[in-house]
Symmetry: none
Subunit: 247 residues, 2 copies
Amino acid sequence: MTDSSSLALEHLPGGSAPLYERIADEVRRRVDAGIWSRGHRLRSEAEIAADLQVARGTIRRAIALLVESGHLVQRQGVGTFVAGREGLRVPGRFESLGQRMERNGVDHETVELGRDVVDAPQPSGAPVRSLRVRRLRLLDGVPMSVLVNQIPLDIAPGIEQVDLVTMSLYTLLEKSFHVAIEHSELTFGAIAADAELAALLDVPVGAPLTHLVQSTYGPGDVRIDDAETWIRPDRHQPTVSLWRTNS
Amino acid sequence: MTDSSSLALEHLPGGSAPLYERIADEVRRRVDAGIWSRGHRLRSEAEIAADLQVARGTIRRAIALLVESGHLVQRQGVGTFVAGREGLRVPGRFESLGQRMERNGVDHETVELGRDVVDAPQPSGAPVRSLRVRRLRLLDGVPMSVLVNQIPLDIAPGIEQVDLVTMSLYTLLEKSFHVAIEHSELTFGAIAADAELAALLDVPVGAPLTHLVQSTYGPGDVRIDDAETWIRPDRHQPTVSLWRTNS
DNA sequence: CATTATTTGTACGTATGTATA
DNA sequence: ATATACATACGTACAAATAAT
């Protein structure tokens, strides 16, 4: 009966998140980590519910999230299984970060790790004196991403003394410094967590992280911000919508 | 209090479909028909439930379907409303990797790993008979990415017999099947290589891979392609350009 | 082939928490 | 402060699909 591997959620993080989300997170973690591989059969809803001392409806809701995201499949009368790749995972079904934060106000938190003023080298031209700030972003108390931003001081004079944990950086630039953001270039990849990132994001060394490099420009291709971000893929997956331009 | 407009589902035989689906269908019909237009406030869940003599949970489940599909939005403490059509996402331009390599004359090669015809489940609606093709892309003879695409057969009839290794899939769809590509939704993250991907991409098991899930749509939001891609980040890092709308 | 046990699916009902007006 | 409305969670019961007896 595919015993073993009971859930044991005593150490479930994110105390404030709903129970069904925490359960789903834990199951997703095990699937993504390969602890439960393709075809693995979960215990029955009733058993899991009894184990965790929660109602079966709560288990069903957690499982529903993972069926949505393509992690699990269910078959009536048979059981619940870890999905293979035979079914594609369709976007738009993931809960975007914006939606999640919108939905429950602000359960996210930003911690500043440090800041300094540096002469940032430019692709073309002389170095530009810039504020460099390193921040850690948490969702439901669990680390989600590490952000490093570099903002030229002449773009936002005085920003080196401004608090950057309460407001979105871009909101601050637009509202307080009247910097218009026009476009940005985004390059993304994956990278294994080194010791420093692993410690900050609370993952094992070597765990895969989403790696983002983004340059943001204002009118006239003025460089506004250079950013590098590392994201725990189990905590957030960015989504963008792309439209065909008229060539 | 936006009264009026109670549901009255007497004429909802619907036969075998679950109650929550029939209720959702009726609400969706009214929204699509414009009987309830953007911003219209629905009666409270409790009121609807009392009206229809069903449990509130059943109403919630019906509404959940429509929130998922973007027809409705809910705000705690306020109410349930008919959603607008505005998207909050950032428009951008995306050149498919295949197109980019075509343009630059990079030495690349595509190997087909297999193809079959499947009934692909859709986020909403019945499964669609689709071609599923798995391909491996190499750059300078070294594996770069694994691609799985699903293209509905009614979009490109006969594509199941077409060679897909010489030309970019999107170029093929546009040039040979006259399928206009309008936009796509792109979700990205990182994932550790499992045994299968590791073998295909010639990396150690557990190596970080860029993971991409992309749905592509034509005019009228017709679904053209669902794709899932795993990329060796040391071989390629996708870039997108994002522009601010209007203003 | 029929029966039975198991498991998911649907629907009901209740209670309490939280956000908003 | 109060009332309203959605959000979460609990629990029960039965139906439907499946697999084993």
